[in-house]
Symmetry: C2
Subunit: 408 residues, 2 copies
Amino acid sequence: MRQSQLFTKTVKELPKDETSYNAQALIRAGFIDKVGAGIYSYLPLGKRVLDKICQIIREEMDAIGGQEILMTALVPKENLEASGRWDTFDVLFRLAGNDQKEYALGATHEEIVTPLAKKFIFSYKDLPFGVYQIQTKFRNEKRAKAGLLRGREFLMKDLYSFHVDQADLDDYYDQAIKAYHRVYERLGLKDLTYLTYASGGSFSKYSHEFQTLAEAGEDLIYVCDKCHVAVNREIIGEQSSCPSCGNKKLVEKKAIEVGNIFKLGTKFSEPFGVRYKDQGGKENTALMGCYGIGPSRIMGTLVEIYHDDKGIIWPADIAPYKVHLLSLNENDRTEAIYIKLKQEGISVLYDDRDKPAGEKFADADLIGCPYRVVVSKKTLMDNGVELKGRTSEAGKLIKLENLAAELL
Amino acid sequence: MRQSQLFTKTVKELPKDETSYNAQALIRAGFIDKVGAGIYSYLPLGKRVLDKICQIIREEMDAIGGQEILMTALVPKENLEASGRWDTFDVLFRLAGNDQKEYALGATHEEIVTPLAKKFIFSYKDLPFGVYQIQTKFRNEKRAKAGLLRGREFLMKDLYSFHVDQADLDDYYDQAIKAYHRVYERLGLKDLTYLTYASGGSFSKYSHEFQTLAEAGEDLIYVCDKCHVAVNREIIGEQSSCPSCGNKKLVEKKAIEVGNIFKLGTKFSEPFGVRYKDQGGKENTALMGCYGIGPSRIMGTLVEIYHDDKGIIWPADIAPYKVHLLSLNENDRTEAIYIKLKQEGISVLYDDRDKPAGEKFADADLIGCPYRVVVSKKTLMDNGVELKGRTSEAGKLIKLENLAAELL
């Protein structure tokens, strides 16, 4: 992408009314635009990042057999009455249709996926299966001050699984935990992210959150460094030792909840009547699990964790472009390098603008691509370019003929 | 995909309360699920079709330099007041936030994209540009009986362009028309789709719709067969001859509006104050164009047009899978064929279910993949399979070693 063509621009001033670092940096760098508190549009750079996060999640859901669907944002009142949540779910946006019906905007989708699944479940042979979607969700929050960490409108991947019995649900749940660990590893969050024991509701001893250590986190978790798990504040009273190894020296840390998985049991399948015939012909109620992760919150989390005083430092697999190519008054020569790198399959943001070098350097640091390549009269005299990693102190001269290989 | 793993099933009965063919067929074949009138979830087969339609549109928008973004579904009341549409736009879903603010659900996005663009437009050098999104839209319709042709919640690609003057807008508009023609060609709708002259509002003589001939269409258009354009009902009174060649023999036909492009001029840039400095340093208001196409309506349109009494007939590039592979009690041998075809990069829906042959044939016709491959004791005796195109009367025997080449 030629930066001169990109319709967004970086902004020097801190955005008004924005106290969270992630929103400040993402707005200044042109990744997102604030429409209202907790309501953000994704601009070209931000859309690319969001798509990469979604694709990683999608691949790992597909790998455990998840079938992708797209449910509706409009959830009819009768569905939420069937589950008993129309009156009790405090963050629902409720609205009236011209068809004399009432709807809520989907904050979660058990009330849509459960009656959907019921239509295709008759026998034990139809189970188990998992369906997921990546979709905009809505929560009518009173306050939303944490940028992408807590939105009124945000992106969510939600997976739902259906099972004949507890053993099958437990197996799938363990598979989902492994898939989630792979997701966080690919997102560059492995070391900072803890499987965190939370209260389990009626159907299991625990549910689990995935919590990523971060100063900006709204949650407190209690970490066992021996086995890299934690417990959340909700259960630290009753469970003051590590549920995995018994270690009693748990350390309090701030964290961001980046995922949440839950054994729903028959909480929704019972009211919606999701029943199947077992091998003996007896009717039973199916069991369910649900597994959530928010791509937009992940984006905010990455920015909170990976930045310095100059700007964002994207993990390599998440960055909008791998290379930020800066021409310092050498557009003719740089154009050829841009074309060459693209031909090699390397994604490049090419700063071809008529701007001072200092401004280009500052923008590159703010936007945060993993590699910066500078083409100037000086580097060309040595028949090369300057290559610098975003977090390296200094760059090094690379001969033109070696550049692509160096970046692959 | 192994059909035994697919969580959906085909349904013999016509769905209740569904009078449109497209919704009947898509529900019966397991592509969509009805949540409410005009409100549908996309199931695995349907999601694949929708993704293919979106990808074709995306590629053609990228080809004319469109920059992809994702705007918000929640549109603050003040944005719609600025344009004067809060009180007049009759199909808005309006809702109240817990933040004491009011919102509408986006039915169109001029009120979000215009203030967004304003933030990055200062000089004539910042123009022109085009931004687009593929996003869920909402229209609070009183009635919604046409399946995917008219939804309360539906998918929309909307592109917006920004220009220094009328000539530049006109140029871009003509480019957009060409891009739209390429989209309909790739969707398999070229011959049936007419550039249709519609009323232009204050800023141009005409706007344009793209109308696809179909018995299920809600619109009447007046077609000039000489130059493959049409005029819509709105302007047939004042314009009873072909605006392109003057032909007076226009033929009335039923059609579905599959796209709409419009020169907005300063209708939105004026109230939102999108101004730029021209080369002489003088301030001017930017001009805008908007260009819409609904992927979900396209999906419904394809089904209305391409079907027979047995089911859907997907165009090759839109089909959920290229090949429907049917094992008639020969799963061991068919498994190897399935693996081989997938390795060749051919998308395959593999019917490995324990079902009678007749049911498998009926499902293949209903789902509508372009090729059906049948593996039976009889075909294997000749070391082959039966290959049949969806619209062919009879299949032909293909030797196993030639199958992949035949399908590539």
